[in-house]
Symmetry: C2
Subunit: 315 residues, 2 copies
């Protein structure tokens, strides 16, 4: 015999709360509703679930057995409700985030780590890519958030770009690099060192070219190209090579005492690092929560960077 699980819930509520009135209260329903459901259930089963005429209500053996099952149903729905609530408040779910490799490794990875300390049940799925590909993925809903440098004019109408940091690049070198001891750096100082180049299709590579053009270096040696941030940093730290990195990345890595930035103006690209997402986001509470966390973390990073630069100026 198939029994409606809601009837079992109601039975459990009556038994566990000691009466129709209390049971109805506990379920947030009216007492007559509960009363009728109970009679209905009893007549279907063909046996009393409570000893008739006795008050306070005392369940029969059968009533008690069924109430035990009702308790189990109640617990399952409670847990289910909790799962949904956690999902809707973004405490659970899946966030798919992507960005340019160097930013993801150098800055965003740390932000994700901090996010997961608060939201351990959110699964963050990270991947890499550049603007065009990520815009496609945002559009076909295989990505929730892109963290990329972008020019304001490049932002499509159906997407929303929230800029965070100016696209500030620096020349990076190992800690203790000879150039760091110079008060002022000339082109000839630089030209004796070779360069580590980012992947040629990356914005950073174009930045490198632009930076070198700006400071007048026509002829430069590249002794390493491609590779993720970790390899770049390793090579940088173990040699006197130079490279171009976003300042934020160098800033975040300064605790590790491996690399530093030359105080040489190389001109900023006309871009902002920012968060790109759908104008009308698909409902993904965890994604929304992650997005605002990322933005707040970037704001905090931005403040720390500005503060640091001011301190540098004071010297």
């Amino acid at each position: 015999m198939k029994i409606d699980p809601r009837h079992l819930e109601i039975l459990a509520a009556i038994v566990d709360n000691g009466g129709l009135t209390e049971g109805a209260e506990a379920l947030g329903k009216s007492q007559p509703s509960i009363s009728r459901t109970l009679s209905q259930l009893e007549s279907r089963i063909g046996a009393p679930l409570f000893h008739p005429g006795r008050r306070p209500l005392k369940a029969t053996e059968l009533g008690l057995s069924l109430a035990a099952q009702g308790r189990s149903v109640l617990e399952a729905t409670r847990v289910a409700g909790q799962i949904v609530d956690r999902y809707r408040t973004g405490h659970t779910g899946l966030v798919r985030v992507a960005g340019t490799p160097v930013f993801m490794d150098g800055v965003v990875a740390g932000i994700i780590a901090r996010f997961q300390q608060h939201m351990p049940d959110v699964l963050v799925e990270q991947s890499y890519g550049y603007a065009d590909a990520l815009i496609d993925r945002l559009r076909n809903a295989t990505l929730d958030l892109a963290i990329i440098p972008l020019q304001q004019g490049q932002v499509p109408d159906d997407l929303r770009f929230q800029p965070i940091l100016p696209g500030l690049n620096v020349i990076a070198c190992r800690n203790g690099h000879p150039l760091l001891r110079r008060k002022s750096i000339t082109l000839s100082d630089i030209s004796q060192y070779s360069w580590i180049a980012p992947p040629t299709n990356s914005p950073l590579y174009r930045d490198l070219q632009r930076a070198l053009a700006k400071i007048g270096a026509k002829d430069f040696r590249i002794n390493f190209s491609g590779g993720s941030l970790a390899s770049v940093v390793s090579i940088l730290a173990g040699s006197d090579s130079l490279t171009v990195l976003p300042y934020s990345v160098v800033f975040e890595m300064k605790n590790q005492n491996q690399i530093s930035a030359l105080t040489l103006e190389i001109g900023h690209p006309d871009r902002m690092l920012g968060v790109l997402s759908k104008e009308t986001p698909d409902k993904n509470p965890a994604g929304e929560r992650f997005k605002s966390f990322v933005i707040s973390q970037f704001e905090s990073l931005s403040r720390r960077i500005n503060q640091h630069r001011q301190e540098q100026l004071w010297r």
Copy 2:
């Protein structure tokens, strides 16, 4: 958020059976019904439970979590249905049975033991009483079955009496009693032994009086009165006293080699031992099952008694 347990059941069925169609089949409902319930649930939750557009259907993480709860609901309702089914088929429940003390102890207790070997989950609540009290209890539904000796004329209209055994009484004595060696027994043989009397308000006591009157004994000594069957038998076995017992009781006890019956005609009361119950029984499947078991056991007892008596005649 409160979630309908039936929706969880449906979700679990879809996930576990690999599709809407199969899930609908498993639940015995139509596919469109399931389909709509699913969309409803998804729109209420505000998130897809299945990855859209992929066939075969693949549940999201959220969908899987909720389906797990649905499985638990499904299991609870399954168990509940089973509990009800067992109740309705009389495999579970409560049977309240009562009867005259000597019969209950001497015959019915054994029947109950055999019943419980087949139906271990039926709780049998046994009590003692005589006709009037038991009739009252049957009427106010505090008793399911009375097993008592009754005259046909005494049966109330609202009750049903199913006679089983004739009210045959015998004079009982210990095994090896001197009287058992006599070919024929006279009044003076008997009068030298004293009597064990049942409780004075019992039918058996009146039977004793009638029996003694029948055989002409006006003056008899009673050296024990009251007590349950167990004490009566103990005293009987340890002395040369006599008493009156239903033949069926003595018959059932003959394996124990403690007591025997004198082959002395003492006249039967105008009663039948039988099963008394409501004409229109309150729905108690276990009670019905027990009742028919009792009747069949009595019939078997009746056959064995008759067979035994025939064998005695042949000697």
